[in-house]
């Protein structure tokens, strides 16, 4: 277990700090401002000032409030979605890793096909079928995380499965499923967490991209992607609108990336 925060690689510390800060800002923003920032047409399209640090948008809504709430909403979609992908994908990969027979191969093949199906098209079709909304975006992101986790679990699991201690466990009479979860899984947590963190980064981009094209969180609740879309329409009048949602995205994605890379370093350190 992690006993001392200071002993962790600097990247991991930075990334965790960034993530915690991001989450506390967004949750704090949600608690302070609620989900719908108020409209004040009289204050529309004001440049950043002491009164509105980030300026105001076309409806006179405070952009600071908007990005903070939007960040909270994105987190509410991304983290559960990636978690769901993890929970379903990892067992598939583990089973495929211990069963090198038809079933294992079939599982991986199925997940590969799923992975090959263009994500954006799937999300668009899903939206046509079920309508727009945060939960559908969550579902789409989760579905696309499944094959990724399955693949990582399978690849690393297969190499762990060739170790002698697995053979020993088999000889002691343990079933393959038990081996997969008791012996292989604990040995591949770091690569899985690495994958999870970069998957979160991708998922934030995907969520923003989907709300940019109109799928996803519905107005009046703000979302980073839709803020960018509106900002694009007002680019020559209010360029500041395009800055803040992007910085917010950059912040969380870089935190995720740093955690992922930090984890790799952490594993390298602990091996020595």
């Amino acid at each position: 277990m992690i006993s001392n925060f200071r002993s962790l690689p600097i990247l991991l510390r930075l990334g965790l700090l960034g993530l915690i800060l991001f989450l506390s800002v967004s949750i704090g923003g949600y608690l302070l401002y609620g989900l719908v920032p108020p409209i004040t047409l009289a204050e529309r399209l004001q440049a950043p000032s002491w009164h509105h640090f980030f300026g105001t948008d076309a409806f006179g809504r405070d952009v600071l409030k908007e990005v903070v709430i939007a960040a909270a909403c994105s987190s509410l979609i991304v983290f559960p979605a990636v978690g769901l992908g993890f929970i379903i994908g990892v067992p598939i990969g583990l089973i495929a890793a211990v069963r090198r027979d038809g079933l294992g191969e079939m599982l991986m093949q199925a997940s590969d096909i799923l992975f090959a199906f263009p994500a954006l098209i799937a999300a668009l079709l899903l939206q046509l079928l079920c309508g727009s909304g945060g939960q559908n975006v969550m579902l789409a992101i989760a579905v696309y995380a499944i094959p990724v986790f399955a693949r990582v679990a399978c690849n690393h699991g297969t190499s762990i499965a060739s170790f002698d201690f697995i053979a020993a466990a088999q000889l002691s009479g343990k079933g393959r499923i038990a081996i997969a979860f008791q012996h292989i899984f604990p040995n591949i947590t770091v690569p899985l967490l690495t994958q999870a963190s970069s998957q979160c980064g991708f998922a934030f981009i995907a969520e923003a991209a989907l709300s940019y094209i109109g799928i996803g969180i519905q107005p009046p609740v703000p979302s980073l992607g839709r803020m960018l879309l509106e900002a694009q329409n007002l680019l020559n009048i209010a360029p500041w609108l395009a800055i803040w949602p992007g910085i917010m995205l950059f912040w969380i994605i870089s935190s995720c990336q740093m955690i992922g890379e930090g984890l790799i370093r952490y594993q390298a350190q602990n091996r020595l």
């Binding site: 409806f59 090959a116 727009s132 094209i213 900002a231 329409n233 395009a242």
Partner: protein, 829 residues
Amino acid sequence: MFNSAPAIAKDQLNIALQMEPPSLDSTAGASAVIDDVSYGTIFEGLVRLSTDGHPEAWLTKNWTINKDGKEYLFNLRQDVSFSDGQPFNAAAAGFSLNRARAENSANVQQEALSIIEKIETPSPFQLRITLKKADSFFLTLLSLPDCVMVSPKSANHLAVSPIGTGAFRFHEWQHGNRIQLLARSDYWGKKPSIAALNFFFISDPLAAYAAVKTGQVDFFPDFPSSENLKELAHDPHFKVSSFPSEGEVILAFNQNVPLFQNRLLRQAISLAINRPALIDGVLYGYGRIISSHFPPQNPDHLDLTSVYRCDPIKAKDLLKQAGYPNGLNLVIDLPPSRYALLSGQLIADQLGKIGIHLTLRQIEWATWLDRVYKKHDFQLTVINHAEPFDYRIYDKNGYYFGYHKTEFHTLLDQLDQESDPFQRHQKLQSLQKILTYDAANVFLFQYPHLAVSNADLAGLWRGSPTQAFDLTSAYFTHSYGTTSHSVSYNSSITTHLGLWLVATFLLLFFAITLHFHLLTPSAFLKKIGLFLLALWIASVIIFGLLSVLPGDPAEYMMGLQASPRALAAVQAEFGLDKPAYMRYANWLFHSLQGDFGTSFSYHIPASDLIREALNISLPLVLVSFLFAAVGGFLFGLAIVLLRYRSLRGFLVILTRIGLSLPGFWIAILLLYAALHFHWPLAVDHNVSIFTLLGQPAFYWPVIALSLPQATWLARAFSQQLQAIEQEDFIMAARARGLSRSQAIIHHAIRHALPSLLPLLALSLPAMLTGTVIVENIFYLPGLGRLLLQAIAARDLVLIQAIALLIATVTLFTRFISNLLHHAIDPRLK
């Protein structure tokens, strides 16, 4: 100025429309944009409406109506011919109207035209129409774009090659980009001074602004970006004018449910809405408040706007009287138009103040038509009713908002019998009073046509209420120093494209066969089998998902007022009436032969549309891919090889930053930079592939697409190299006296490259889907935008084809990378 050559007036008029028409046949399909392009330019009718709304002669010299108002005799012009040389005469006129009113006609006015009892041609240039009953509306009906004159010879191909009697003839259509009409030399009327009309399609507010500002577009009749109008109005190079339209934007109540049969509730909501604020928020002050379903320019309009002046306190009081002292929760369905989305947010905010909590639901047009319009499954919606004289919908059975009032019905009946102008005026005003005081709906504002034009463009006039500009009389006042260049269309793009594809595949094939002996034939066959299986499953998924979608594509194509018969005709035409498994088998069979079917929205083969779109997307994706692969490789190598720690650290940080930047944010920032520094933005994609690659504007989307992928590849590659550096064989190489960089270049790269292959195989499809957003930001008519358009238009054939194409490319790159991986990596022998 040393301008020796005489200045030649600009003779090409570039017009931008928000939407691309599905076809140019204004006699089929309800889309108003069809008329924007073809009505008055290609097609002409017997009569048209003048600016003040009265019918005037057009292809007829004059007409007489007999006493009982049932018989119309038209004396036709004798000097008119169609653009294919066919003469226009009474036979052609009779044919046109008979075609429109035929039982199996797809004409939107088919039902209205059933008032005609018979059509006769007493002489070659005389047309006699007998009605079943007198109708003062008949001439207006004939002036509609649905009743234009067509030639019996060409009538069956109007959707792809429209032929009419107008001053312009159809020349060329680049789908997603441009329609070109050329002036006819054999036109019967005054020859237009414009030689060519180019219609472009721009719905994106920023793209519209950029197109006008850079002079690419001379005339934008319905400018989508009201936020930019103030600036353009101050610019002496442009003329900004606001034309009233026949469009009433309403907040509709579903009065098919008991909730909204409560008049007090409707009145409370009407009082809670601040309409000046709506106009300010949605249209930046352009537009007018309306008080009922009548546009203010109508001579019979009655101004009742003071009845519901926003008063939250009174509204709250009414809400209490209506039985909702604690407020209530409602859902509003918003169609995807910008005015609706913005209005919805403001309405939610305003209703929130009187305790009505509104949930917004953004839906697509097809879903709106299906759920709101057809199934009446909604509570509230915001919609623009663009049709002229459409107050009759308040007495229509089974209409979506379900308003009924006996008083209104009797008044309408009396109106139809009434021929005295004053009495009619009185009755029309009474109709408005009923609608207003009864709060039939919330009448929000009149949708304005905000036209922006080049200040030198003159001579445009606008018919009313038929919503079309007369483009034949337009001319440029100023002479331009340069000769107008006629845009030459390069039709060999497709062959270039073919060459590209063949070259890519040959290269790949070469690489595979070179190493083929490393892979056993059975393994090879197995991989091919899996690839085909995956492809088949993908096709089933795509088809399956699309066939269970809500909404009828035929209905979407034909618009709101299509008769059931016309719908059935369209369904039969596209085979929509057959069961799903048969359609799937049919589709699969034809797709295998490269025939993806005929696009619902464009009425031409989907494969043609895709090929046109690929002219943009393929170079875009391939160049981006090349940039990403080479850039990633070099960058990754540099990170490993650089001696200076600080510089290396800097590069590593750069990759990390690049990895965390979403591609579409980069795209938006680039767009801002381009606007701000006046960099070229418009890509002239009507050129050969090499000219395309020579344009700087082409590289903004390339950067946005390739940067994230390049940093991703660089990081993966450098990590792989660093891992390999620790291995024994590198140690051995170093021990033999190779320097570190020599060891890496000669030994490590070969081992690191295979691990890049799967990543490359991922990044190609990622870029292909990335085009959906990047092409939208940079407004390129490529595959990505085609896909979004297809989805918006519910063009199942096109969606299927594009989805299948992207899935195939994805699966195929994986298949190839898999094979190559086996071939290159010695450890997988």
